[in-house]
Amino acid sequence: MLPELASVYWRPRASELTLRRSGRVWTLWTLAHTVPFIGAAVLLIALNPVTLPVALAALAQAWLIPELYVARGANVVRPRGPVARSGAEVAALGLLGDLIGHEPRALHARTGLVLERGKLGAWLVAETGALLVLPGSRRVHCYCVKATDPKLPSSDRIAHLLLALRADESGFATVANLAFSGAPWRLRRRLPKGVRPALDAATDAGRAMA
């Protein structure tokens, strides 16, 4: 059990059930933010076509809000800038390489993310966040989570999260903050091109787990 769970004692422990539920709640929350704007736009046009500019503004709002949520989700795995090839980073990269197999090591070299298959789904671990592609690959959860020491090399940050994930996957998903939940294709559009192959690999892994 992760010791960090003590800091989020009020949260229910993550499980397949809570992940499914939080995904549905996220979808309903998004609908609640967009449907009123769409409804208002339709109503305005129906009442008086002169209000078209206002209706278009409402539709833009309905489009923008979900896009902002997706962008927030993509940010959790966005590279934090070029990785310094310092001695510390090389040492950290060596340790991370020892912890993962050949396939995740090659993926990390290409994308900066580490693929880890768990019981809850396929994880992609980054420096300051993680993605969880649920079995079947119809939904991805984006989590904001990081090591508390800000001066660690990039690969050590990933190793911190990876070890915590391996020690207690459910606890890891409980400690992490959910930044977005939705369809992988929506997230993929917002990811940097260099990171997309990692999401593709995770969705492949998620499909294999269904």
């Binding site: 960090e4 800091s7 959790v76």
Partner: protein
């Protein structure tokens, strides 16, 4: 030879190396291990993809024990 390493700003630092048959090296490793736990580090033994064990006592037969900082939601 087993190793106790701490992930830190240098990448990682080897704090102790021991062999289960060498009591002096074990005692030094246990002392280093407890000192780091007191400083707020957590100890983990990785057991391959998908598996790691959080430990509170130094596992003498583990080849590698890694000390990590706490994580938190961002």
């Amino acid at each position: 030879m087993s190793r106790l390493i701490r992930m830190d700003q240098t990448g990682h630092t080897t704090l102790a190396e021991w062999s289960a048959e060498d009591q002096d090296s074990v005692a030094a490793a246990v002392q280093a291990f407890r000192a780091e736990l007191d400083r707020g580090y957590f100890a983990v033994v990785s057991e391959g993809e998908g598996h790691a064990e959080q430990v509170r006592e130094l596992p003498l037969h583990a080849p590698l024990v890694i000390l990590r900082r706490p994580i938190a939601g961002g």
